[in-house]
């Protein structure tokens, strides 16, 4: 078999000019980052009840549900904006019998008492109802959860900066952090674009993306540092290209493995994990992209001190 193992037919040594093309991609990334940032405010994140407060009820009935009845029953209680939606499950893929109801607790009312009132109203309107989920988040808690979530992201990025600074050099740290901001902001952009409900699980997903993206960046940086010692006089831009090319096989194999594994989760993990795994997959793809086109070129932008050889950096094509 000529093609197996696959590794034998992958190009042995690629010579892509990543740095040369990075300007183009930088423009693209900046546009996307700006678009994502704007998206976070207009139309804004679709905050789930974790971060907005309120209640989600999930219920099922033996017969197909008439959504109008559900809506009418809940609207009679005067709770303001009520969201009613069907959703599919394993035994009911079309979601004919499963409904989720979302509402806000009126100010001053007791949240759990409100849930009881809604449940009573629904029981009356629909007859036999089974409640499979009831989540209630008070306004104080939701505010704290949101603050803590954003704080966790900020601390994660800060710690990564410190870690890279400590293990490599400040310039590397700045490159890595620029890439992290890029990844996190674009992930938020995806969340806004797909109208994914932003909840606690997504914070975990984004933190994982941060971990993965750093992982990817560190592998390239590690090679870059090694090559800097090995080829003392090669210009930095060529060194960066070389290091990325040398680690490219690994980048591709690891990335594809992770994406394959997560696609199983996205397809079969059910409603609850779909958004979560889509965000993870997007983050892994974008994290790989950013280690190549954002993190490393930024190191070039700042330049790295390379001891005595710093002055003898020769123009293109120089050979030791």
């Amino acid at each position: 078999m000529k093609w197996w193992p696959l590794i034998k037919i992958l190009p042995v040594k690629t010579r892509f000019h990543f740095v040369r093309r990075s300007k183009l991609f930088a423009v693209l990334s900046v546009i996307l980052v700006i678009a994502s940032l704007i998206g976070c405010f207009v139309p804004g994140l679709n905050r789930g009840i974790d971060f907005k407060g309120g209640t989600v009820l999930e219920l099922s009935t033996p017969q197909p549900v008439q959504l109008g009845k559900v809506r009418a029953a809940v609207n009679r209680l005067d709770l303001g904006d009520v969201g009613v939606q069907t959703f599919g499950t394993r035994d009911d893929p079309q979601g004919l019998r499963h409904v989720s109801v979302r509402f806000q607790t009126p100010t001053g009312a007791d949240p759990t008492a409100t849930v009881t009132r809604v449940e009573q109203a629904l029981n009356q309107a629909l007859g036999q109802v089974t409640y499979s989920r009831a989540d209630v988040v008070g306004p104080k808690v939701s505010g704290e959860l949101f603050r803590n979530g954003i704080l966790a992201l900020a601390i994660a990025i800060a710690l990564m900066l410190l870690y890279i600074w400590f293990r490599f050099e400040l310039q590397f740290g700045l490159g890595a952090v620029a890439a992290l901001f890029h990844d996190v902001i674009l992930t938020f952009g995806l969340i806004v674009a797909l109208r994914i409900e932003f909840d606690l699980k997504l914070i975990a997903a984004i933190l994982t993306v941060i971990g993965y993206s750093m992982n990817d960046t560190v592998v390239v940086f590690d090679r870059l540092r090694e090559n800097m010692r090995k080829y003392k006089r090669m210009p930095l831009s060529e060194l960066i290209d070389l290091s990325i090319n040398e680690t490219l096989t690994r980048t591709v194999i690891t990335g594809v493995t992770a994406l394959l594994a997560l696609s199983g989760l996205a397809l079969f993990g059910g409603e609850a994990l779909r958004a979560f795994s889509i965000v993870l997959m997007f983050g892994i793809a974008i994290g790989t992209y950013s280690s190549i086109y954002i993190a490393s070129p930024i190191v070039l932008l700042w330049g790295v001190k390379r001891g005595e050889d710093a002055e003898i950096i020769t123009p293109h094509g120089a050979r030791p």
Partner: protein, 539 residues
């Protein structure tokens, strides 16, 4: 590679045995599990509420209400103290959270000051709970020091946890988990309990029971107009809030003097509650009932009157019944609450999450299917990519999976649905370490090293990168653990365990396997090297 040290083999074999032993209880049927010898581990994975169904309730102890109640009690204490000493006073009330009272007769001001200073307990750290100061115009100011209030709050939260535990235990709910969170919050997790209403009804009720005399000088017209003497208060009846009675503020006896409470039936076969007082309660109740024969007293629960019977004769035995409009279940619940004691401060539910068992089962199924498919995809890809070496990596992955499940079972860490996602991702990223090693080895072989040397170099050179790369993931996981709650923590925990087991298995297990293969096959060239070896060009 030939110098494969013995300890590496031993560690790998031991780890694999450990993984198998501790994973086993999760795959054996219940009947087989019961027959396992006692020295074998029996602990299964601890599934989170989102997987097994159950209720999560986050309560906040209402400290503001506690303060308010404390101040109201202080007002009553001041009133009683001054009356007992025949000191004439006026304008007793709260001003900006401080208690003010005006002593009418200037000659009594010093005496009043002296008497009021005896109020409140001395603090263990010095000083007294209640600070008494003189204020202009014959006023006396009293307030509770912040430190005393703080201590009281800490005490109240501790006591509340204890009471919740007693109440929930009495319900017979399966091993509920009750922990304090922050300074004033309490988490109650009840696996398997899909109906939080019952749990809430039992936990959330203050259950403060008092026996108070009905103030019969107050007419219904007075109540309608809200006119009552300062030592009385208007309370609604349990059966209908529109019916109200005026009762004396001072309690004759209170729920903390009960030694026993149980549900029973009265002579008309209606559910009621039988109770018995302790010594102090018996004495005080006997005294009060002897002095007030023919009058009514009210049985008050959480500021609502359950019933207001006439005192026919002195009750000296120290036991009695509470009748009211109860169902048997209500009577049972109330007896339970009275036995476990009143909450020192009101509790509010600020977060509640409930998952039905059916939904949990669906989630487990989805988790199993996607873990299987994800795992299969990783296996297939890594074997396709690296052939024989891919098989080695796949074997390491199996041990890795076993070890993760084993550690999760051993530490009884909670596995949540996002945690399953964490597991799949960990397995995928675990391959990364092997990819790094193999790619290094290929680089080395290409630059002309012998197969043995290139494999050795592959391992030693990739190690630094592997550690660096995994430490970043570990940092992210630890932050999740610190800031996350519930399912997110489960995810972080799975990720953290996975990082350690991944580095261990991808480095050590594959190393041992490759060494064994090397000894057996004596290969001439690296099987993952391309067909036409190409010398790396020097640049």
């Amino acid at each position: 590679m030939i110098r494969l040290s013995r300890w590496k083999v031993i560690v790998c074999v031991l780890a694999t045995i450990f993984g198998v032993l501790f994973t086993l209880p999760n795959v054996l049927p219940q009947s087989a599990l019961a027959q396992l010898p006692p020295w074998m581990p029996h602990q299964k994975l601890n599934l989170g509420l989102d997987l097994q169904g159950g209720s999560y309730l986050l309560y906040e102890v209402d400290i503001t209400a506690l303060k308010k109640e404390r101040l109201n009690n202080l007002i009553e204490d001041v009133r009683t103290t001054l009356r007992e000493n025949r000191i004439v006073f006026s304008d007793l009330g709260l001003v900006n959270g401080q208690l003010m009272v005006r002593i009418t007769d200037p000659a009594q001001a010093d005496e009043a000051y002296k008497q009021l200073q005896t109020l409140g307990q001395p603090l263990p750290t010095g000083g007294r709970e209640v600070t008494v100061q003189t204020a202009p115009d014959r006023h006396i100011r009293l307030f509770i020091s912040d430190r005393a209030m703080e201590q009281e709050a800490v005490q109240a939260v501790k006591q509340t946890i204890e009471i919740i535990r007693r109440r929930v235990d009495a319900l017979g709910t399966r091993e509920p988990n009750i922990v304090q969170q922050g300074s004033t919050r309490i988490v109650v997790e009840a696996p398997g309990e899909a109906d939080p209403n019952r749990l809430r009804a039992v936990i959330g009720q203050t259950a403060k029971l008092t026996f108070q005399m009905v103030d019969d000088t107050v007419t219904p017209e007075d109540i309608a107009a809200g006119r009552v003497p300062p030592d009385s208060i208007i309370l609604p009846e349990e059966d209908g809030p529109e019916q109200q009675l005026a009762v004396k503020r001072r309690a004759l006896v209170s729920g903390d003097m009960l030694t026993h409470a149980s549900a029973g039936y009265d002579q008309f076969n209606r559910p009621d509650i039988n109770f018995r007082f302790n010594g102090q309660g018996t004495r005080r109740f006997a005294e009060a009932t002897s002095q007030n024969v023919g009058k009514r007293f009210a049985i008050v629960l959480d500021n609502k009157i359950i019933s207001a019977p006439n005192i026919q004769e002195p009750i000296t035995g120290g036991s009695g019944q509470i009748t009211g409009n109860f169902t048997l279940e209500e009577a049972n619940n109330l007896a339970l609450l009275l036995r476990s004691g009143a909450l020192p401060a009101p509790l509010k539910v600020i977060e509640q999450r409930t998952v039905g068992a059916e939904l949990g089962a669906d989630a487990i199924h989805a988790g199993q299917v996607s873990t299987f498919i994800g795992g299969a995809a990783i296996f297939l890809f890594v074997i396709l990519a690296y052939g024989l070496f891919g098989w080695f990596a796949a074997a390491a992955l199996v041990v890795n999976g076993l070890l993760i499940v084993a550690f999760m079972s051993l530490t009884q860490a909670t596995l949540t649905l996002p945690g399953i996602a964490g597991l799949i991702l960990t397995l995928a990223v675990a391959v990364d370490a092997n990819v790094l090693i193999y790619e290094r080895a290929r680089d080395e072989a290409r630059s002309g090293r012998s197969i043995m040397a290139s494999i050795d170099e592959g391992y030693s050179k990739a190690m630094g990168t592997i550690i660096d790369a995994n430490l970043t993931s570990l940092i992210a996981a630890l932050i999740m653990f610190q800031f996350g709650s519930g399912p997110v923590r489960g995810f972080a925990w799975t990720l953290s365990i996975g990082i350690f087991t991944s580095v261990f298995t991808s480095v050590l297990i594959t190393q041992v396997l490759i060494a064994w293969w090397f000894r057996a096959a004596r290969p001439k060239r690296l099987p993952i090297l391309e067909e036409t070896p190409m010398r790396e060009q020097t640049r």
